[in-house]
């Protein structure tokens, strides 16, 4: 598999490590919503098809990349820096007041 890092260009998949699903929402650091934390840590969409995920270019620039990749064909649909993809922790506010 070749992943085209937005900084380094096309590189072999051996330079990258898969980290997480991309769509998972980490609750705000101060959130006390236990269910949201549980879901964040343990539940996965695990799509068969186009899958939103975060990889790190650990053997290169070490940036985290938000990648959409088809898990059935391994074809990579898009790659962007994870940090440009909005900030997951801001998407959902704590549901139960602290």
């Amino acid at each position: 598999m070749i992943i085209t890092c937005p900084y380094c260009g096309p590189r072999d998949s051996s330079e990258f490590v898969y980290r997480e699903e991309g769509g998972r929402i980490r609750p705000d650091q101060a959130s006390t919503d236990q269910a949201a934390w549980n879901a964040y840590v343990y539940d996965r969409v695990n799509t068969a098809g186009e899958h939103d995920e975060i990889w790190q270019h650990s053997g290169g620039c070490r940036a985290h990349l938000r990648i959409v990749r088809n898990t059935v064909t391994h074809r990579i649909v898009s790659v962007a820096f994870a940090r440009d993809h909005g900030r997951p922790h801001e998407r959902r506010k704590a549901e139960t007041p602290a």
Binding site: S13, R44, N46, A48, E53, H74
Partner: protein
Amino acid sequence: MREYSAYTLLKNALAGNRDWKPAWRKPDPKASYDVVIIGGGGHGLSTAYYLAKEHGITNVAVLEKGYLGSGNVGRNTTAVRSNYLLPENHRFYEHSMDLWENLSHDLNYNVMFSQRGCLNLAHTPGQLDEYVRRGNALRHSGIDSELMTVEQIKRLVPALDVSASARFPVIGGVMQWSAGTARHDAVAWGYARGADRRGVDVIENCEVTGFLRDGDRVTGVTTTRGEIRAKKVAIAVAGSTGRVMKLVGIDEMPIESQVLQAFVSESLKPILDTVLTFGMGHFYVGQSDKGGLIYGGALDGYNSYAQRGSLPLVEEVHSEMLALFPGLASVRVLRSWGGLCDMSMDGSPIITTGPLPGMYLNCGWCYGGFKATPASGWCFAWTIAKDEPHPLNAPFTLDRFHRGAIIDDKGQGATPNLH
């Protein structure tokens, strides 16, 4: 008279082998069953077999989307062992071992289970302590485990490099002698035949496309071969759990599907009579009765439903092979394949009622699915028949992750690709 024996083999040979019956019928699905099992792999078939044999429930269909045994039961490295650290795991796998030991007789089908042992090689004192901890845990549960010195290891596997100059010298190992290998396909075929002869309909080329519901309750399935109603619907589709659960409206699970590659070398005269694991990487190897070395390593490490591996992992695995067996450099790898693993968040499986009424779930097998086949089916059949788990699978719930009651043999946390 048993259907398969040396006598019937001779009798049939004399008759030109024209009288053998199909190993299982090829029935059309009926409109309804007491139990429908989705997944005609090892676990689904063994579940059907034990439902019929242990619980007298024979109005059962096993639905397989492709050919029978096309999933991981036919794509693994055939190792059977119960040497897990945690009691929840090793008790379960030891029950499996008990079933394995008599499986060929039970099924009247030679699954070629051979107890040639599984040896974990240790390379640092800390690692040896860790392995001894595990071995002692087994011994305290009545399961066999033995410490081996380097000299004993060398005698057992003369081709192994145990020199002190190795990059990671072997300093000892922990052996489970009752462990071994079995002929993987035969397990699927044996269970299929056993279930079939007890009245179970084993239905191939029948893909589930949706679930029939009555409110929350699951009442059957829609398939490429029509609607099938069932009092109970059981899912045993490890590798495809995510896909099937989405059909019933459950979009998130504590599971990632990942590819595990396996390899077989060309046939060689015997060189390795046990199963070995390498402690400074992720590598295991055995040799089949046909002579091929069967081996594998770590997961490719990313989500996949493709049954297709990546090249870097191929290179990694083979470098580990040579770290143990420098004499095998000119031996060649003949085949490789990829299996889809249901990697759970703690590396342990799920066998449970629910999560919806009328539904039963068996998944999350990670690497351990093949060796679990008998106990998985046995426990799942119990759970389906009695609507509650057997004590052996009671810890393997779906809600354990959220509760923090995790069963993490490797101590890696919710990082499936490290289990």
